[in-house]
Symmetry: C2
Subunit: 471 residues, 2 copies
């Protein structure tokens, strides 16, 4: 056949095996990339016809984004839908960026409503508005979309098996059989009463262990932990981690079963929440993506840079108000970077520890006095150590670079550094806890604000110390 001549030998894809997987497929990825570059999309599509969706996902992730998008857009809706369900949110959004509305309609109509909702959530709002009315499952999807994206309802799946307590094991097994192909990650069957209120659950293994004529009510487990649909996803993760659960049922205010949250969804939430903290602390908007376009770089980062600039302008004004002192001893300006750097770093260190402690639930407010005591003492030691080192450097280098009264300058710099470190650490440790107490996301308001707040304090403390001791 002709096709065999067209497809080079290196295009044989090696199925995922531990360790050697990526390396063995590198030539294939390169070859397919080349074909796509030369516009041979049809050849590639033919080639992929018998591939498992998982392998196509693997290939897409390894291609340059531009070619991955080209390839993805050329896949028929069926395989494309299977591929899209296996992608992570960021990559999915990147791949869908260029898709037309018609293409999106076909794609989402081949997906389960839940998978469709997840993917639609990632689309820009104007695309959503144009797309939604055309979808086959418009009703279900709209209903699912009423849940807040980061609430238990927003991350649950409605695919689960539910049985009444008066069924027998045999009936339950038949029900599982009926749903088996439709449901991923099935680990438990839920038991509900006549009002659909959750009353218990059975693990799949319970079905294997008990005789087929036993009644559900006799063998069901009642020590279930459920979450309310309006619960924040971060709280959901905290509950599942503390109770060592792989998945968790979601109920409404009356205890009626609405859905369940699977283990892979929980894993995704853990990653997303951690990333959000990382973003906020680094001064980037939480929805920043690694492959963001230029406009995203501006929108997600400029506001934080400007916020930092405002703070720095205040620091600058403080420095400016000490112009006479600086004109009298220009060497003082050399210490601005040192005190600013220490203040910024010590503050962000303490804030990170506090924020992470709040996120993982290992900080108790009952423990606050102890915590702050430790923080103060530790910061004092760190500040004194850094202060002594800087003072020593000034004392030793002073005579060589013509510093007047090096001992006084050393005392000034050392004391200012110690004081600044102490204060920055205390503020860094307290502010996140305070914000959390008032229901504000501590990561949100920390980051750049703690850094620049401390910068301001730092130059102030330094110049006050310099005026008092050195000048």
């Amino acid at each position: 056949m002709n096709e065999q001549n067209v497809i080079p030998d290196e295009l044989r894809w090696v199925r995922g095996r531990p360790g050697d997987r990526l390396d063995e497929n590198r030539p294939t990825v390169k070859a397919i990339g080349r074909l796509l570059k030369h516009g041979e999309t049809d050849t590639v599509r033919k080639l992929l016809r018998r591939w498992h969706p998982r392998d196509i996902v693997e290939l897409l992730v390894q291609l340059p984004l531009k070619r991955a998008r080209k390839l993805f857009l050329s896949l028929p809706p069926g395989p494309a839908a299977k591929v899209i369900a296996g992608l992570n949110d960021d990559f999915r959004a990147a791949l869908l960026e260029d898709a037309t509305i018609d293409r999106l309609i076909k794609l989402f109509d081949s997906l389960d409503p839940e998978d469709a909702v997840d993917a639609i959530d990632e689309l820009p709002e104007e695309v959503q508005a144009r797309l939604l009315p055309h979808l086959r499952d418009f009703g279900t999807i709209s209903e699912l979309m009423t849940y807040k994206e980061d609430s238990a309802g927003g991350i649950m799946t409605r695919k689960f098996v539910v049985v009444p307590p008066d069924w027998t094991v045999d009936q339950v097994i038949n029900e599982v059989r009926r749903h088996a192909n439709r449901i991923k990650k099935l680990s438990a069957v839920y038991v509900v009463d006549a009002d659909r209120r959750l009353t218990g659950y059975l693990k799949l293994r319970d079905l294997l262990l008990h005789p087929s004529e036993r009644q559900v009510a006799d063998i069901m487990r009642t020590d279930y932990v459920a979450v309310r649909s309006d619960m924040d996803q971060e709280e959901v993760v905290r509950i599942t981690e503390r109770n060592d659960l792989a998945s968790v049922p979601v109920v409404d205010a009356d205890g009626r079963l609405l859905g369940r949250i699977t283990s892979d969804e929980l894993q995704r939430v853990v990653r997303d929440e951690a990333e959000e903290d990382l973003h906020l602390l680094s001064g980037i908007s939480p929805d920043t993506r690694p492959d963001e376009p230029v406009l995203g770089i501006v929108r997600n980062r400029l506001p934080w840079l400007l916020a930092g600039l405002v703070g720095a302008t205040v620091s600058g004004s403080i420095v400016g108000s000490f112009q006479q002192e600086i004109a009298a001893a220009a060497i003082l300006a050399s210490f601005i970077p040192m005190v600013m750097s220490m203040a910024g770093n010590a503050g962000i260190q303490a804030a990170t520890v506090a924020i992470q402690g709040l996120a993982t639930g290992t900080i108790w407010l009952g423990d606050l006095p102890w915590r702050l005591g430790r923080e103060v003492l530790g910061a004092l030691i760190n500040g004194l150590a850094a202060g002594i080192i800087l003072a020593a450097v000034v004392l030793i280098a002073g005579p060589y670079i013509g510093i007047q009264e090096p001992a006084l300058l050393a005392l000034t710099a050392g004391l200012a550094l110690a004081g600044v470190t102490l204060l920055a650490a205390v503020l860094g440790a307290t502010i996140p806890l305070l914000l959390n107490h008032f229901g504000i996301d501590p990561a949100m308001a920390t980051g750049i604000f703690i850094t620049t707040g401390n910068d301001i304090l730092a130059v102030l403390i330094f110049f006050v110390a310099a005026t008092a001791i050195y000048l």
Copy 2:
């Protein structure tokens, strides 16, 4: 009975129900805390005798650490072991801090070897060395401890069900039944050949769906994804996420089945890896805990503060080398905070995005030219915007605060800010990718180093610009 008089009504613990759980138990937590404070440990222990371990965990987490430790140390080894298996690593380590070796021996002897290994890993090395030889499962535990802590082998459990391909469904069900109580999170049965090499797997539901006399070989799934025991845990998570797996089998170099990694373990790894990145970027050692003692605050933070101080000293020296210029125009010193803040923030923003992209696998090196192009353009826009704003502020405020030649100073400050932002973003985006290319953990070497490296560049660029344009 007397006991009823001793135990006040508020001590009734409400089992976990969605949402209202924590609030309803707050009086109980307070009352128990009070009892512990007054040394009534025996009363509390009696009270907890019938409590579910999960509720004791819940109680411990809500008590101040000091009292939680007191209570935990007073629990009998059996319940204490059950409690300890349900705790997260940090909290466990905090609780065990005061425990005697004898107490630890009793505790770990009541745990499964795997749970024991996890907890022992968190103990200080000198305690491990004294403890290990006394444990009942010394052999197994030592063997498990040979795997690197953050490798697939280090996080796997050896509790799983394995069957040969010639068994019938009925035989497999019996095997599951035999192991059911011992194994948590059982979702699949693995199929191995005579050499114990992994050849396939069955989901539990497959056992329900097929007639009991069918042979395993006929119905087993062969599209398994396994990981090698020496694979890094971060790579394991990437593979499971990409393949949408809840758990994954672990094999040795010859493909022999060694264990499996469960969904909750994967979730823990995701959290730990994200925390590690957050820590490193914030300038804290990766093993920092929110409840670290004073010595930990010094050990985990001082080295990074000093590294920052070294960089800042270089910045300070550069400022110092422009002493004459500063003496001539002290206003120049006011701009040090602005350029430093912009450089630090823009650098850390770009670095965070790059590091996160590397961690989640959404950055492809094949995409590098595009990525950098976007980053340069975005940084240029951000830098110009900030530069124009700062220049406008100088122009407007200049006449009022007696700045000489405000137009030239505005030009200097604006240009320097734009240039610094551009350079900082490019370095921030490239350095993590370069480090990753050479096999160094990018989060490790970024954080404070990018910030201070950019600080140095920032003051240099600013003073060079000032000398050229303003003076």
